[in-house]
């Protein structure tokens, strides 16, 4: 029997705003399958976003949903998780939202290792505003504000997360649709701050400026550049040039923030310091 996505989608809120060929819908379906596989209760699941195309995702989901201000998803989510640790809190959003204007909140959420999952849809561009370069845009790429090619080097979002202290970091792509829910399931099950970067496509504002002739070509590109982590282990640095490693990139057991704060409460209540 076909999977019933409708169970998790708010009645009457479709069609979505995403362009034909955009990968965000693929990610949303992955998220829905993950929520289903995890058996999460919708009223105990909070989906938090910032601003941008990807950040419109919560509005379609039949959960507790919070569409915050640009870049602030991780900070709002931190307040929610601290105040209601029993809720499952999932941030969603794009690359510009998450690691440019929201970069500070993102790295500090990683550092605290608070039990939130951040699904970052990296389409390498600010799509909603018409295709300006983001901190994830490859050097040399064309964007509406890099008409001569992007002089900036990009962030490696997964490495940024690992370096900042996130205890679970994974990467997938919109092409590898059936892997997305598996990565999100593992991320949510992991106790601590987990990041799932999904390489995504924006045919409208990135593809057409960067010589991708079609959505199919963009999707094939995602397929061609990605190398599963097991395969990558057997490849030389030369062979990995221009490739992106996918799968669970990092996993570590370490103290989770809400649990650590619970110890603070216990110390305060026992009169100790």
């Amino acid at each position: 029997m076909a999977f019933d996505y409708d169970k998790y989608i708010r009645p009457g809120k479709l069609p979505h705003i995403w362009c034909p060929g955009c990968g965000h819908g693929i990610v949303m379906k992955g998220l829905i399958r993950a929520i289903d596989a995890l058996g999460l209760k919708k009223e105990q699941t909070c989906i938090v976003s910032g601003i941008g195309c990807a950040s419109r995702l919560p509005g379609y989901m039949d959960c507790c949903t919070l569409h915050t201000a640009h870049g602030r998803a991780a900070a709002f989510a931190t307040g929610i998780k601290m105040a209601r640790p029993e809720m499952t809190v999932i941030c969603v959003g794009g690359d510009g939202d998450g690691v440019a204007i929201g970069g500070n909140h993102f790295i500090h959420a990683c550092r605290r290792n608070i039990d939130i999952t951040y699904v970052m849809m990296n389409n390498h561009i600010y799509g909603m505003t018409g295709g300006q370069f983001s901190p994830a845009t490859p050097t040399g790429a064309k964007a509406s504000t890099t008409p001569y090619g992007n002089p900036d080097p990009p962030f490696d979002i997964a490495k940024l997360a690992i370096g900042s202290g996130a205890s679970f970091v994974a990467r997938g792509t919109a092409f590898h649709a059936i892997q997305i829910d598996k990565l999100i399931v593992e991320a949510v099950r992991h106790k601590g701050f987990s990041v799932v970067e999904i390489l995504d496509d924006c045919p409208t504002t990135y593809g057409r400026r960067n010589r991708f002739k079609s959505v199919v070509e963009m999707m094939n590109h995602l397929k061609e550049i990605s190398v599963p982590i097991k395969a990558a282990a057997k490849m030389s640095p030369e062979q990995l040039q221009g490739k992106v490693i996918t799968g669970v990139l990092y996993k570590e057991d370490k103290p989770e923030y809400c649990e650590q704060y619970q110890k603070v409460i216990e110390r305060a209540q026992s009169g100790a310091k």
Partner: protein
């Protein structure tokens, strides 16, 4: 039984007032001269199972506060000038999404870094118009340690009652001075909690105006699923650009305060009834003004004090009344005329409004005010 008394700082009183009001979540960022609020909350909140978090920046702090409030926790942040500027983005978010929260802003010299340890009253307009777009504002300006405690309780009550952010803005002098305080007993001051929905989850809409201008607010995690966005929204919380809906919703958000001015506004009139000259002042400046009024009365000069306790909404109607029978107003303030302009704006030119302005980090002393009273009488 004698009341519990203390000899504490204004900022500490603000923190204890917040706890009395039922505050259970604090997020902040260190900034002079408000940091003591955070320090007290970091000690006291975990003792009662509340949560304290020092965030990575001021925007993160107010964001966490709004997030926590959406789960039903009464939430507080504390800051000062530069932090207030940074928080404005999410203060606007709390306005449009109608999420209760309290912001303590201890006023220091500005603009920018200004004078971090110097007193000021120059954030008054920032509290009214700092965030972009049209929005209502409630700002309380206490003048003593006792009043900081009580007004912080009231700030939470107003935030909960009207579903909006509320500012409490002591100037640095009031924030840092130490005075005797009598701690109110539990139950002595009213404590108001937000109205939660009476309808089952499937019928709930977060902006359901069939319940009036302040719709009930459910908590995330309490069994209700709903959507919250900073976009202009419909009653069900989802974005809309429908002209009539957007206009009506924005007007309703302003009406929450405008239609309830008498419930929100609070001031004290001291020797105003027969006064020829009325001083309009708040915070520490009002204490200098009271001294000056007493001295003037000894000289036979009919001076009075109109002490603002709520700055926003501003008691325009009452000042207009008073303006019909006085020779002049004087506005001593630690700003370059922010209060003066507001008074002028509401008295229809009935009397001159003389300003005494300090932005030099020095309080307005009673002698200056007395000299101006003599000139005006």
């Amino acid at each position: 039984m004698a009341k519990k008394v203390g000899f504490i700082q204004g900022n500490e009183a603000a923190a204890y007032g917040a706890l009395y009001a039922g505050c259970r979540f604090f997020a902040g960022y260190p900034i002079t001269p408000s940091t003591e609020v955070a320090e007290v909350m970091s000690i006291e909140l975990p003792k009662i199972g509340g949560k304290f978090i020092q965030m990575e920046d001021e925007i993160g702090a107010i964001s966490a506060v709004v997030g926590a409030s959406l789960t039903g926790a009464k939430s507080l942040t504390a800051t000062s000038g530069p932090g207030l500027s940074l928080k404005q983005e999410i203060i606007g978010y709390a306005c449009i999404t109608e999420v209760p929260c309290v912001i303590i802003n201890v006023m220091r010299g500005g603009p920018s870094t200004g004078m971090p340890t110097g007193p000021s009253q120059s954030d008054i307009m920032c509290a009214r118009w700092g965030t972009h777009g049209d929005h209502a504002a409630i700002t309380l300006v206490p003048a003593s340690v006792q009043e900081i405690f009580e007004e912080t309780v009231r700030a939470f009550n107003l935030a909960e009652k009207y579903r909006m952010p509320v500012f409490i803005m002591p100037d640095e002098i009031v924030g840092h001075m130490r005075e005797r305080i009598e701690f109110p007993e539990p139950g002595e001051l009213p404590v108001i909690d937000r109205t939660i929905p009476s309808v089952p989850p499937e019928q709930y809409k977060p902006y359901d105006i069939t319940f009036g201008d302040v719709p009930p607010l459910a908590a995330f995690g309490s069994g209700y699923k709903f959507h919250v966005t900073g976009l202009n929204k419909m009653q069900d919380g989802f974005p809309t650009t429908k002209a009539a809906v957007v206009q009506a919703e924005e007007e309703r958000q302003l009406r929450k305060v405008e239609a309830n001015r008498s419930d929100i506004m609070k001031w004290e009139e001291y020797l105003v009834d027969d006064a020829d000259v009325v001083i309009v002042a708040c915070g520490s400046t009002s204490r200098s003004a009271r001294f000056a009024v007493n001295e003037a009365r000894k000289e036979g000069l009919k001076a009075g004090l109109f002490r603002l306790i709520t700055f926003w909404p501003f008691p325009e109607e009452r000042l207009l009344d008073i303006s019909r029978k006085v020779k002049a107003f004087i506005t001593p303030e630690m700003s370059l005329g922010q209060c003066n302009g507001v008074v002028k704006g509401c008295i229809e030119g009935n009397a001159p409004v003389h300003g005494i302005y300090h932005v030099d980090g020095e309080p307005v002393n009673p002698g200056e005010i007395l000299a101006r009273i003599r000139e005006a009488c």
